[in-house]
């Protein structure tokens, strides 16, 4: 590939950041100073190009070190990886957490999404902007996955190493402190504070959260860890898939696809290698269950991924973790390193002859990368745009190879399936929705957090458990891509079939309660803004449709009845095309919440 570069040079810092990731360059073909020897050969072909998947980690390295990505830094990274600068620019500008323009080393991300808005994010933003000087860039952004402690702010200070501090629930003073002195900011409360049921012996998925030391592999093993993997080795790959199929487990990320079928379809593909991808890009507003699992019980995911890889014949696994989860990243990194050091990952897992290892890839602020094929593109170093299906990931997924992609919660469910056996697991829940389910309850409740209940619990029971406050006006199920229900619909059973019958969706398990403090049209406008901001821009219905939806909602934010009727008719027409003609689930669901608010809650009536 004959690449063209400008004259910009990287700074020493930028060079060091990239070299720390990739090692020192071996020749001028990779960005070192040119020597006579370099003129007598050319580095090219596949060997030069096959590290494209390190582009996103490289962009993180630059951004983490200096806070933004300069032309010289980007060019240097491109030389190292043989990536055309125009493509790398396209990738870097895709992610909200990267800046291609100079900005202060410290960025304070303030969540202005639904739960945080209801908890006073607007005042928080105004306060921190007044309280912070030009040395900190304040960025309003989508959900940070800290809804149980709303309002939330995340400070990131570039340097070596990069420092982060979470402030939640944030006061102006604490958020300013986090941004100005991230090192001395108070430690976040333990993950178990997000689990109001912590300590309940009946918990299947959250049982270890708060009970074990998330850094200790021994503690994990002392609490039942790695018994599922041993059982898996006894059963053999086909036996594991049979157990998972018989358990009735379906994907917990929102699409509810049968996990056993997905594993079987991948395992039987003749093309190799097979890959395993864990989708931990939890970005649906209101969702934070994966974060709590990763922070409170990280070895569970490592073990579950090892089982999934063994069953499907994968030797390399990736965890795509959203970029806004610094503590989950640290804990998971530590857990993987420990597991590797102790033979639970590596060339010969537990001496059973199966090789498997896990790499973490950090997202960089793009909701769309939670879409399974967009996630593949993101890992591969391309823009996180969804691919068209078919072909499906089980056939052509990551790097064009058969791939199993599962959500964190789905994978963690595999552990109880193997330890208690498929029949016992399937006995939990209802006939069609088996097993325990995590619900992320936030908003107008006394005890927000992640709740574990068997499928079949009603919405009212979940809200009761969380201590719903008086004056309930609406409940949002499934996040921004989900739908609103009324306070008189609390008997909806929270199962896939139950919510479908009720004309709504379970989605990723978000249960967000709203009282009257924020007017409904404002919430709808925030949801529409979210989809406009997060649309990747690939297909027309979503790229322009989400803009037109937001414009219409702006026009009617203070209107009702006949004054809003024309725009509501327009919204319905655009929404129908969004649902029917968008490439991926983002566009297809971008109108769900607004539609449900109009039809069920009588918004604008």
């Amino acid at each position: 590939m004959d690449l063209h570069f400008g004259d910009s040079k990287p700074t020493d810092d930028e060079r060091a950041a990239v070299d720390a990731l990739l090692g020192p360059p071996e020749s001028s073909w990779e960005g070192a100073d040119r020597s006579d020897a370099d003129l007598r050969w050319a580095r090219g072909g596949r060997a030069a190009r096959d590290r494209r998947d390190l582009l996103l980690p490289g962009l993180h390295a630059l951004s983490d070190r200096v806070g933004w990505i300069s032309e010289g830094g980007l060019d240097y990274l491109c030389r190292r990886l043989t990536v055309p600068p125009a493509e790398a620019y396209g990738v870097a500008t895709f992610y909200a957490m990267f800046s291609l323009r100079p900005r202060p080393a410290t960025v304070l991300h303030v969540c202005t999404d639904l739960a945080c808005t209801a908890a006073g994010a607007a005042d928080l933003c105004a306060g921190v902007e007044a309280g912070l000087g030009p040395g900190v860039s304040v960025q309003r952004g989508p959900c940070l996955g800290l809804c149980e402690r709303a309002p939330a702010a995340l400070a990131v200070r570039a340097g070596d190493p990069v420092r982060t501090a979470v402030s939640a629930p944030a006061t102006v003073r604490e958020a300013v402190l986090a941004a100005t002195a991230p090192d001395s900011a108070p430690e976040e409360p333990p993950a178990a504070t997000a689990v109001p049921q912590a300590g309940d012996p009946g918990l299947v998925l959250l049982g270890r959260v708060g009970l074990v030391d998330p850094s200790s592999l021994d503690d994990y093993r002392a609490h039942g860890g790695y018994t599922a993997l041993r059982r898996a080795f006894e059963l053999g790959p086909a036996g594991v898939i049979r157990e998972v199929t018989d358990s009735g487990l379906v994907g917990r990320g929102g699409a509810a696809f049968p996990t056993g079928r997905k594993w079987q379809a991948t395992a039987s593909q003749p093309d190799h290698p097979h890959y395993l991808v864990c989708n931990a890009d939890e970005s649906e507003p209101g969702t934070f269950k994966d974060r709590v699992l990763l922070e409170g019980d990280p070895y569970a995911l490592v073990e579950a991924m090892t089982i999934a890889a063994y069953a499907t014949g994968a030797h390399q696994g990736y965890v795509y973790l959203r970029g806004e989860y610094p503590r989950a990243l640290r804990r998971l990194e530590h857990a993987i390193a420990q597991a590797r050091a102790r033979g639970f990952l590596g060339d010969d897992v537990l001496g059973q002859g199966h090789a498997f290892d896990i790499e973490i890839r950090r997202g960089a602020g793009a909701y769309i990368c939670g879409e399974e094929t967009a996630l593949f593109n993101s890992i591969e170093g391309y823009r996180g745009e969804p691919r068209s299906k078919p072909p499906f990931p089980v056939e052509k997924g990551l790097f064009g190879k058969p791939t199993v992609e599962n959500n964190v919660e789905t994978l963690v469910n595999v552990l109880p399936i193997l330890t208690m056996g498929a029949p016992a697991y399937a006995a939990i829940g209802t006939g069609k929705s088996t097993g325990p389910k995590l619900f992320c309850v936030s908003g107008s409740v006394d005890r927000p957090g992640v709740y574990e209940l068997p499928f079949g619990a009603t919405l009212g029971e979940v809200l009761e458990l969380a201590g719903v406050r008086p004056g309930l006006r609406a409940v949002l199920l499934g996040g921004a891509a989900g739908g609103f229900v009324r306070p008189d619909e609390l008997d909806i059973p929270l199962t896939f079939e139950g919510t479908r019958e009720a004309g709504t969706t379970l989605g990723s398990g978000v249960v967000m309660a709203f009282d009257d403090s924020v007017p409904l049209p404002r919430l709808l406008l925030r949801i529409a803004e979210f989809f406009r901001d997060e649309s990747c821009g690939q297909c027309v219905p979503c790229r322009v449709g989400t803009v037109r939806q937001e414009e219409a909602l702006h026009r009617i934010v203070e209107r009702t009845g006949a004054a809003a009727a024309d725009d509501i008719a327009l919204l319905r027409e655009v929404g129908r095309a969004l649902r029917d003609a968008s490439i991926c689930g983002l566009g297809q669901t971008a109108w769900n919440a607004v539609e449900s608010a109009i039809d069920r809650l009588g918004a604008y009536a």
Binding site: A86, Y89, A96, V540, V547, R548, E551, V574
Partner: protein, 286 residues
């Protein structure tokens, strides 16, 4: 194509298209089948020399058993498929896509789109006078071609032609995200600071006139561009021995644009800077 290696004969498969049984070779898309059956399914991002990107979604059709509509341009025909191209549902989405595009992009030089807007009774004005538009100024930064991104529907064809599908120069990419996404070179610099080799293969595939010869852009600005007065003469490029076909577009005895036939087995519509832009010597009359 004038010379086509025949290859292994492809089997025919049968499916139902608007109630009619049709037979198409294996590997055909639904769009291929529609066109073979004489149905006019609108397309914008589809290119005869490129792999389908299915980004514009104006070609959507209804396929029995599919939850959403399906892009005809990229979905391969399968035996027994039930496809309907002209349902109210498909027409509705096409209409909205046309409205969304026409309300945000300058489609004045997009071929056939005016006819489809009429056919589908699309009313782009109904989003109101404040509806966001791209609002881009033409970029005139070199003597050969102009990038007028106010006319860009983001069909990705130029990126694909510049990248691994044809030119392998990788000078352009989509940058940004959502409604703010634009085609750009690195750092959104002028073309002259980029990897562009001025082959003009992006102009060849651009469906909207967002990319055009500087000569065409200037003549349109002056109001002298008139395709009815143009002749097209296909000849062989004289620069090297490859033998590329050139089609010279001539108006008032001046070459105003050079293309290459898409079915030419040498070029598939692609040229290099010499074939595309190196024609001035032909019309130096002193």
């Amino acid at each position: 194509m004038t010379v086509t290696p025949l290859g292994i004969p492809r089997r025919l498969l049968e499916f139902t298209l608007d109630g009619q049984e049709v037979r198409v070779p294996e590997g055909s898309t639904v769009l291929d089948a529609c066109r073979a059956a004489g149905k006019d399914v609108p397309t914008l991002c589809q290119g005869d020399t490129l792999r389908p990107k299915n980004a514009c979604r104006v070609c959507v059709v209804e396929v029995e058993g599919s939850r959403t509509l399906v892009p005809a341009c990229s979905r391969r025909a399968e035996p027994g498929m039930l496809v309907r191209t002209d349902t109210e549902r498909a027409r509705h989405s096409r209409k909205i896509v046309l409205e969304l595009l026409a309300s945000s992009v300058d489609l004045s030089t997009t071929e056939r789109v005016a006819g489809w807007i009429k056919e589908y009774e699309a009313k782009p004005d109904r989003f109101g006078p404040d509806a966001a538009r791209l609002g881009e100024e033409p970029r005139v930064d070199n003597d050969l071609y102009v990038r007028d991104y106010d006319k860009c529907i983001l069909c990705y064809k130029c990126v694909d032609a510049c990248g691994d599908q044809w030119q392998n120069t990788f000078a352009i990419s989509v940058s940004g995200r959502g409604f703010d996404a634009r085609i750009a070179v690195e750092q959104d610099a002028p073309l002259t600071d980029s990897a562009c080799v001025y082959c003009g293969n992006c102009i060849e595939v651009c469906p909207t006139g967002a990319l055009s010869f500087k000569s065409e852009f200037d003549m349109r600005a002056a109001g002298t561009w008139d395709e009815t007065k143009q002749t097209e003469t296909t000849t062989v490029c004289a620069y090297c021995g490859v033998g590329c076909n050139l089609t010279l577009h001539v108006q008032d005895n001046e070459i105003v644009k050079v293309t290459s036939p898409h079915d030419n087995p040498v070029t598939h519509g692609n040229l290099c800077i010499k074939g595309r832009f190196g024609y001035q010597h032909v019309q130096n009359r002193d």
